[in-house]
Symmetry: C2
Subunit: 338 residues, 2 copies
DNA sequence: TTGAAAGCGATACCAC
DNA sequence: GTGGTATCGCTTTCAA
């Protein structure tokens, strides 16, 4: 058995309460006893038992992080940053991979409630309003629908503006017939489809370019690997002789699939067709030609979300319930002016 | 305040002990009371308080996962798999990013001890034998030096064989003068440098190829981004007219840097120089030409390590203290026969 | 089949 | 400055 404050108290000939307060730097004690207690604690290799402390104080100094899966670049960076932030503030972080599965998500939430986490960072929620499983545990969402009315805090990017900006970028590089590729699931998880579509349309409109419903926008099911679906789509478009000179993809994998199809058909990039993705991941950085993409500033997303959650944990009020993080277009080979 | 077993007991007119045992499916009770208790618990939205339970039972149902940083592909997949495995067995996982920093690592270990985790998966340890901070908490290491004598369990790949196999692969594809690029840190964290060097040398020897000390092996400091160091190195070798027709890199990033240098110097790949990396990450999959690499089977590493740790937690004995997971060479463009 | 009570390790209030 | 004691929510032994 590990040594407890009682053991220390016994050795020092004082009470447990004294030990507790001294080790927590509370109360007024003679320097002598303070030194003595600390020395004994050190010698005995004492470490607090957090389960006991938490039971008593109703504070665990833990948070939960919900992501679909950490193996994905975007989520893993956020996990790391959030975890780093909270470690600096004395918290340990539980990692939960929900795999976009509602049942799993519920199990994890249940776990976290049992474990009495002080707060939750949600980068995965599909549960949303259905049930309030978390009681009054504060939640901050990143890039996803907020959980419920009690926890509306959301840190995200402006999808409307991202798509608008990317589309406009292509237009400025000379594109006249642009198509948009996106995922159906985008809608489910982020309720941002609306912004995406209007962002695209508005950009075309602003530059007097035609928009053909339905042949300008393609929603992929996203059931298989998205880049494969995308590659197939673009291949078919080419076979069907659909004319286009620009592709906006709402994800780097989608963009990569498109790139593969274009290359396979020996279509000159960026000469004949220009292409842009989103997320600024390795999928856009590594291919040849490299793919223009949008950096969503995950560091900021994670930092701001963490700060917000910490405030909520400390019962501080937040100024805003929704915070938008800026994005940057990272220009690469696929949209160089031709 | 959340509802406790006492609240339920009061409502049902029974004792707390009864409620406890029924909710844990222990003891013998009349079906009537069982149903009643469960119904009330359900109605009241009861959830166990794990801090209390853990305090009493000295079991937290949590584990800690130590990695240098989850934002790295290799580690994030392992994290996910380990976490998934333990979730299925009723455990929640703490994520700790040590950033290869000894002090951070100590802080995390200290945290985990305080939080009374039942076990630890170590994919990060540089602490090794120095101090036994974890007491008798079981540890299983993946691809890293085991923590200490008490916890020797290690799941890893056979680096000697990996390098031997890759080198031999290049030889079979026609290479006659092969160089090896590796990182100095490889040695520190994995104590496998020896295996790497002899694997390389033995492969050359087995095929009667010359080995030139020191011009066949290059150790990079790995202080900057490793692919940049590697790119610089290869560029210099080319400038210095060092002749070679094959490169074995002990990491995909190193290989990518080499690839970049070769391409920049318009050297035909795989015609004039062949190249292979390690880890089978996006860094080898996405570039053009794609880079031959070695899949280290992270799924197996994670699975076996998790199973071992679970056994140790349950006080079961392990058959082996060191388990080697098979690797596979993934042949890609950079080593096609020319 | 059920209840009473002790105890896990810490905190905190109140008394001296 | 320091000690005594109740308490956090749960499990577990023993008795009834």
């Amino acid at each position: 058995m590990a040594v407890s404050i009682y053991d220390i108290a016994k050795i020092a000939g004082v009470s447990a309460g004294t030990v507790s307060k001294i080790l927590n730097n509370k109360g007024k004690y003679s320097q002598e006893t303070i030194d003595n207690i600390k020395k004994i604690a050190e010698e005995q290799g004492y470490v607090v038992n957090q389960t006991a402390k938490s039971l008593r104080t109703a504070k665990t100094n833990t948070i939960g992080i919900l992501v679909p899966n950490v193996s994905n670049d975007f989520f893993s960076t956020i996990c790391m940053d959030v975890q780093d932030f909270f470690h600096e503030h004395g918290y340990t972080s539980y990692l939960c991979n929900t795999h976009d599965d509602l049942n799993l998500e519920k199990e994890y939430l249940h776990d976290l409630v049992q474990k009495k986490v002080d707060g939750v960072i949600n980068v995965a929620g599909i549960l949303s309003q259905q049930e309030n499983m978390l009681g009054n545990i504060p939640v901050v969402s990143i890039d996803r629908e907020p959980f419920d009315e009690q926890n509306p805090t959301l840190i995200t990017n402006d999808y409307y503006k991202i798509v608008y900006d990317v589309s406009e970028h292509l237009i400025k590089q000379g594109c006249k017939k642009i198509i948009l590729i996106t995922l159906e699931s985008f809608n489910v998880y982020r309720t941002s489809e609306n912004g995406i579509l209007t962002g695209f349309q508005d950009a075309l409109k602003a530059h007097d370019l035609p928009y053909f419903e339905p042949t300008s926008i393609f929603r992929l099911p996203g059931q298989d690997k998205s880049y494969i679906e995308s590659e197939i789509l673009i291949s078919e478009l080419i076979n069907n002789k659909l004319e286009f000179d620009g592709i906006v993809a709402t994800g780097d994998r989608l963009a990569l699939g498109a790139l593969t199809a274009l290359k396979r058909n020996n279509i000159d990039i960026p000469g004949k067709v220009k292409l842009a993705g989103m997320d600024n991941s390795l999928y856009s950085q590594l291919p040849t030609p490299s793919i223009t993409s949008v950096a969503r500033n995950t560091t900021q997303l994670a930092k701001i979300a963490s700060e917000c959650l910490l405030k909520l944990i400390n019962k501080e009020a937040l100024d805003d319930t929704k915070i938008i993080v800026e994005h940057n277009i990272i220009e690469r080979d696929t949209t160089r002016k031709s």
